[in-house]
């Protein structure tokens, strides 16, 4: 959202524009005006404590002095940055600093800016002659709070006794050793004494970690709100773009989504007014929790529990089952966690069973009397409890879509194709919760993923459909090469992917062409620098991709050994590619008709529904096949989806054991 820009006249000559509500210091510094300060930091909340940045302003006819670091501009104003009054006060303030901390470099520098040189005027018994004396700027306190969401260090003591400390003056065991207090300290008064796993170049790691923290602290609240709601923020975005799975991936949005979106979770459910992170010290802290939730079913019925989540995939899994009651979402989340069941597989598997039930392929007898229709949350929870006990229809869902699908195919051979089309699994794994019909890149991203259609290897839907960063066929093929390798690399390094793209530099989209912007180059560089800082070995894109490619190809070959590594194993069910049923086609008829017109140059008005659906299917599978051909090629695989021996040689992993496995698939 862009803010109103307000005219500010600086020193009677220069006009600058400041966004409403923003402070003055940043635009003033950017305009090349000297503003001395000791406590201001561009990425931290300004607390106006050093008072050096004072300027005189006139707004609404009233003239006064304000601190430029935290005075919020609300009306047109005039600013004078160097009046006699300002000069006088700054000089005295600088002398106060000089008197107390005469040997600190930043104090000397600021004093010079303020025309102060007298070190004796404010000299006293408490003068600290240390070059690294703490000057009470409080940047470390704010960094701890705002970057790391901790309060390990803070001020203690009032007035002249104010000092920085940890609680009760002892080393706080909650300190995670993130070292940002030390990093941000302008005087070097905070030293890190731990070896921190002895990295090769700790400063390099901190320099780039600092960028991540600063972006989180300053940009997140205007981007994804990961700190506030975590990944749940994607629910409403996906609904808006018709990508949120509803009723076993039939549709991409639903009028009831607002009942359980992140706004609802934020207002009524997420209860911890603090960051909740996988590990203490994470500056994103996107995990969320619901406290004191009273369970309505199952072995813990009536008890109040803490529920970790819900995250996007859990919420979207629920919409996929047609369940939009947030109480259900939280309870479902709790019991899946408690039983050790993946919410995604559970939701997608159940959604498949629901569609079969509604189509009459499953009956009350099969389900043990449960009306397993879309939206029947009670039935879902009962299945979940059964699954945990290894009995009833819950057990059937627990065995996965592939098993249930094959059983039903035997029972209803005439429905075999339909079951194949709507059974949302590839390589035996249930789909994650994004509707991929309109995203060719995501279709292939899902089904080429080595472990099955899981978004972790190639989550391309956002860049394809929301950001429109990979429009052409070539772009998509390139993305299917780059991103799975890049994301495999995270796994190899044990690094979190979320800080790569759930916050982006403010100018990312402006600075790069879309295909490059999708990679978020500055953030990729952060990761290389982490690697280099830890190991001492510099890394670039090719180096990184090659590290991954070795593992990725090895994984593909293992997959092949296990019977899932060929082209036919990469074929998605049609529901992931296009509209399976008439109901589906008709629900988005305008879109599909237009595609027929645009892509195949046929006049949809001249065709009946059946013909339109057949043509759509044909066209979409053709496109799919083309994109995986291109992706195979880019990956160095042959048209059967098998790594070539040349590729293994290129990567230096043409080991006889591996070559032996793939040899017979080479031609």
């Amino acid at each position: 959202m862009s803010k109103r820009m307000i005219d500010v006249l600086v020193n009677d000559k220069k006009k600058i524009q400041v966004a409403e509500g923003s402070s003055l210091i940043k635009p003033l510094l950017e305009a090349g005006i000297v503003i001395p300060t000791l406590c201001y930091h561009k990425d931290l909340t300004s607390d106006g404590s050093c008072r050096l940045c004072m300027v005189e302003i006139e707004a609404k006819g009233k003239r006064r002095m304000v601190t430029s670091c935290n005075y919020p501009v609300r009306d047109e104003l005039k600013v004078w940055t160097l009046t006699d009054k300002i000069k006088k006060h700054r000089k005295i303030l600088a002398e106060m600093y000089l008197g107390r901390f005469p040997n600190v470099k930043v104090v000397q520098d600021v004093a010079k800016q303020c025309g102060a040189s007298d070190k004796t005027r404010f000299q006293s018994d408490i003068t600290d002659y240390n070059e690294k004396a703490c000057i009470l700027c409080g940047k470390c306190v704010r960094a701890c709070k705002e970057f790391i969401l901790e309060k390990i260090i803070d001020f203690a003591g009032r007035g002249i006794k104010r000092h920085i400390t940890m609680p009760f003056g002892e080393v706080d065991p909650h300190c995670v050793g993130c070292t940002y207090c030390s990093y941000i300290c302008p005087t070097g008064s905070i030293e890190v004494i731990d070896d921190l796993n002895n990295p090769f170049d700790p400063k390099l790691i901190r320099d780039h970690g600092m960028k991540v923290n600063a972006e989180m602290a300053t940009l997140d609240s205007g981007q994804c709100c990961m700190r506030e709601v975590g990944t749940a923020n994607i629910v409403e975005v996906m609904d808006r773009y018709d990508l949120l799975p509803v009723h076993n991936f039939k549709f991409g949005s639903h009028p009831d989504t607002p009942k359980m979106d992140s706004m609802v979770l934020r207002q009524k459910y997420f209860s911890q007014e603090q960051a909740d992170a996988c590990w203490k010290g994470c500056s994103m802290a996107c995990a969320k929790a619901v406290d004191g939730f009273k369970l309505k079913t199952g072995p813990y019925k009536g008890q109040k529990v803490v529920v970790d989540g819900p995250e996007y995939e859990t919420s979207a899994g629920c919409s996929n089952m047609g369940c939009f009651d947030p109480d259900f979402v939280v309870e479902f989340n709790f019991y899946c966690d408690t039983y050790g069941i993946d919410t995604i597989s559970m939701a997608t598997g159940t959604a498949f069973a629901m569609e079969c039930f509604e189509a009459g392929l499953l009956t009350l007898e099969d389900t043990g009397g449960k009306e397993l229709k879309f939206g029947s949350g009670d039935a879902v929870l009962e299945c979940l409890h059964e699954m945990s006990r290894g009995e009833g229809f819950g057990l059937k869902i627990g065995q996965g879509i592939r098993v249930l699908k094959n059983e039903l195919k035997k029972k209803f051979p005439e429905k075999a194709q339909w079951l194949e089309d709507i059974g949302m699994e590839v390589k035996g794994l249930e789909y994650s919760e994004y509707v991929s019909k309109e995203s060719l890149a995501q279709q292939a991203g899902y089904s080429l993923a080595v472990k099955g259609p899981q978004h972790d290897e190639a989550w391309l839907i956002f860049m394809d459909m929301v950001n429109n960063q990979i429009p052409t066929f070539e772009d998509k093929a390139e993305a299917l090469y780059y991103f799975p390798l890049f994301r495999t690399w995270f796994g190899l390094m044990g690094l979190c992917k979320i800080v790569w793209n759930d916050v982006v530099p403010a100018d990312n989209a402006k600075k790069h062409p879309p295909q490059v912007a999708a990679k978020i180059p500055e953030h990729v560089e952060n990761y290389w620098k982490f690697f280099e800082g830890m190991t001492g070995k510099p890394l670039d894109e090719q180096g990184m991709l090659n590290q991954s490619a070795r593992v990725h190809n090895l994984q593909r070959i293992i997959c092949l050994m296990m019977g899932y590594g060929q082209r036919e194993d990469d074929m998605p069910p049609y529901r992931a590619v296009g509209p399976v049923t008439e109901e589906e086609y008709l629900s988005r008829e305008d879109r599909y008709d237009k595609q027929l017109q645009d892509n195949l140059n046929v006049d949809p008005t001249k065709l009946d529904l059946q013909q339109k659906m057949e043509l759509t299917r044909e066209f979409r599978y053709e496109q799919y096949n083309k994109v995986i051909d291109a992706a195979y090629k880019r990956r160095g695989w042959n048209e059967k989806g098998i790594p070539t021996i040349e590729r293994l040689k290129e990567l230096g992993i043409a080991l006889p054991e591996l070559v032996g496995i793939i040899e017979k698939y080479q031609n």
């Binding site: 106006g48 601190t67 919020p72 009054k85 005295i92 600093y97 006293s124 009032r158």
Partner: protein
């Protein structure tokens, strides 16, 4: 449960009940009298009534602070107003027997006015009371603060009933604006305007009401006394404010060092809730408002609005920049109305008696613009070198002289007036030449002091003004939060200079330095604590420059306070040779024999002043 229909009949019933007594013994149980044995006096009265079997004819009531703390413990017999003072356990039997049973006033327990030497039988004969005008303290000495029915009998909650049934919220705000009521906590900001801004900022959403009972000025206890005397008036004021701005939740921020006030407040809140005057559906209408107590840990800076709200949210009480006011973004980032105890206590009376009555008291014409004057009254705690220390409520515009000389009874011990400090530690010290100045917000500010919350410290001629400035700056150094540079470093520097001057090591340039540093602290500090902190220095520099100059140039402290600048000597004419001084001297600096003039060895003397204190013949003098 009390509702809008039965409130008046309940009040009437209580009035009838109380009027059946022949008399009521109003025993002061404010903090001052309690510490002097007030509780015991109250108990003894009850016992004595039982002993004489007249416990059904007289009622003993423990009241809040009577105000005349100098002569406690106090008991006033109502309705005839006989004022008994400085009571001890053994006096009670006499009062009950002689006065209540036999109708003879016990003369030796009456107050004697030193100005005319006469005994004053009735409370209203005593000048300390006659010049006062009670609004915020209207129920002092007349009710049991722990009994809501006493408050109801004095038309309590009648104003709340009135606003609910007769006025819409904007009318209430309008009334308060027109009354000209300005905040009694320090700033003097017009209360009604504050309410209007908060309501506007809330746009129908959440707005909080907060009562500031964090009275931090040394020697000031106005707010504590109001809460101890009449807690329900504060609650009623907050209820009316909540009704006006649309608040549903309120807080009273009170310092934990006020245990009696806290207990009475808690009781009052419980009683009000039980009576249906607080909580959901007040007086069985759809107006709901609840009040919670937040205990403060006693930091002076927490009286500042943003620091108070930071403290309320569980963090260390440090102020924030107020470029956006707390009426817009305050507690929990919501619009917040913060008024102090005394301000809230004024509200029910303004509603009851109206704008015309309220604006007839005080200075200026405030009906069109509350900034144009100071309407109503102000409570001061009158302390220091003054005969009648205590709590007084006076109309705005009264002169300092009337307060100090007539109400306060002037300076005791034959000394003369030197200065009065108003506005708490960061107020200013005003000299005798300002005694005829009217006491109101703007006059005090113009004179270089401020109203503050109402502390008034009187100083006689043996007070050193440089030392006074040093003392207050020293207090402020401890109470500064230390967040911003000018207040933290600047006050410390002022103290260094003042200490130097008091030690006789002052330099010519010090005066200029004091002014310059003070100016920077005033202009550049983050909050009003810092902004007003140099006032004691600036005002003493303005009005008592000569004393500074004497300290610096002549190394002389005319008041004999600064030890480095004085010597203790023996006045040979007065010394009787009683030996008491040399017996008490801790360093054996005094020599002499019985009935011979003693001598002080100045090299050994550590200027502790004990000889001066113990000499009965004014033979130890300060040079």
């Amino acid at each position: 449960m009390i509702n809008i229909k039965n409130l008046q009949s309940i009040a009437k019933k209580e009035q009838d009940k109380l009027s059946k007594y022949k008399g009521m013994l109003m025993v002061c149980t404010g903090t001052g009298c309690v510490s002097a044995g007030g509780m015991d006096i109250k108990k003894e009265f009850t016992n004595a009534l039982v002993r004489h079997k007249i416990e059904n004819d007289y009622l003993v009531v423990g009241t809040g602070c009577n105000g005349f703390c100098a002569v406690g413990p106090i008991c006033v017999l109502q309705p005839d107003q006989t004022f008994y003072q400085k009571l001890t356990h053994k006096d009670i039997e006499r009062i009950v027997k002689n006065h209540l049973l036999e109708g003879n006033v016990v003369k030796d327990l009456l107050y004697k006015d030193s100005s005319d030497g006469k005994l004053k039988e009735k409370m209203n004969d005593i000048k300390f009371f006659t010049k006062q005008m009670l609004i915020a303290l209207r129920n002092k000495g007349l009710i049991d603060p722990e009994n809501i029915y006493h408050y109801l009998a004095r038309r309590g909650y009648e104003s709340l009933r009135k606003v609910i049934i007769e006025m819409d919220p904007d009318q209430v705000i309008d009334t308060i604006i027109k009354s000209g009521l300005r905040g009694r906590g320090g700033g003097g900001f017009p209360t009604g305007i504050k309410w209007r801004s908060a309501k506007k900022a809330a746009e129908g959403g959440i707005v909080y009401i907060v009562c500031n009972a964090d009275e931090g000025d040394p020697g000031a206890y106005m707010d504590r006394s109001i809460v101890e005397t009449d807690p329900h008036t504060v609650i009623e004021g907050m209820l009316i404010g909540a009704y006006a701005v649309g608040a549903r939740e309120g807080f009273i921020y009170i310092r934990n060092e006020y245990p009696l006030a806290m207990t009475r407040l808690e009781k009052a809140l419980d009683q009000a809730k039980e009576a249906g005057l607080l909580g959901s559906n007040i007086m069985e209408t759809d107006f709901s408002f609840d009040i919670k107590i937040h205990r403060g840990a006693g930091a002076f800076v927490c009286g500042e609005s943003s620091a108070l709200m930071t403290s309320m949210s569980g963090l260390a009480g440090e102020p924030k920049a107020k470029y956006i006011h707390t009426v817009e973004v305050g507690f929990r980032d919501k619009p917040t109305v913060l008024n102090n105890v005394e301000t809230w206590a004024n509200i029910p009376v303004i509603i009851e008696k109206g704008v015309d009555w309220f604006t007839s008291i005080g200075t200026g014409d405030v009906k069109d613009n509350p900034w144009n004057g100071s309407s109503g009254t102000k409570v001061f705690s009158l302390v220091g070198d003054i005969r009648n220390t205590g709590l007084v409520e006076v109309p705005m515009g009264i002169s300092l002289r009337e307060i100090i000389e007539e109400i306060g009874g002037g300076i005791p011990n034959g000394r003369t007036f030197k200065a009065v400090q108003t506005g708490g530690p960061s107020g200013g010290c005003l000299p005798a030449s300002k005694l005829d100045m009217p006491v109101d917000f703007d006059s005090l500010t113009r004179a270089g002091s401020m109203m503050g919350s109402g502390g008034m410290i009187v100083m006689d001629d043996k007070t050193c003004m440089v030392d006074v400035a040093r003392y207050f700056i020293d207090f402020l150094i401890d109470e500064s939060c230390g967040k911003c540079t000018p207040c933290r470093e600047g006050l410390f520097a002022l103290n260094q200079i003042l200490t130097r001057i008091c030690h006789g090591e002052g330099k010519e340039k010090d005066l200029e330095d004091l002014r310059e540093i003070s100016q920077t602290i005033t202009d550049a500090s983050l909050c009003q604590l810092g902004g007003s902190a140099p006032n004691p220095v600036i005002s003493t520099l303005d009005y008592f420059t000569q004393e500074y100059i004497e300290h610096i140039q002549e190394k002389k402290c005319r008041s004999g306070v600064c030890k480095n600048l004085i010597d203790y000597r023996i006045d040979e004419n007065n010394c009787t040779g009683c030996t008491i001084c040399f017996k008490n001297c801790p360093v054996e600096a005094i020599t002499g024999e019985i009935q011979k003039v003693h001598k002080i060895d100045l090299d050994k003397c550590i200027k502790c002043g004990i000889c001066f204190e113990v000499c009965k013949f004014n033979a130890v003098i300060i040079k």
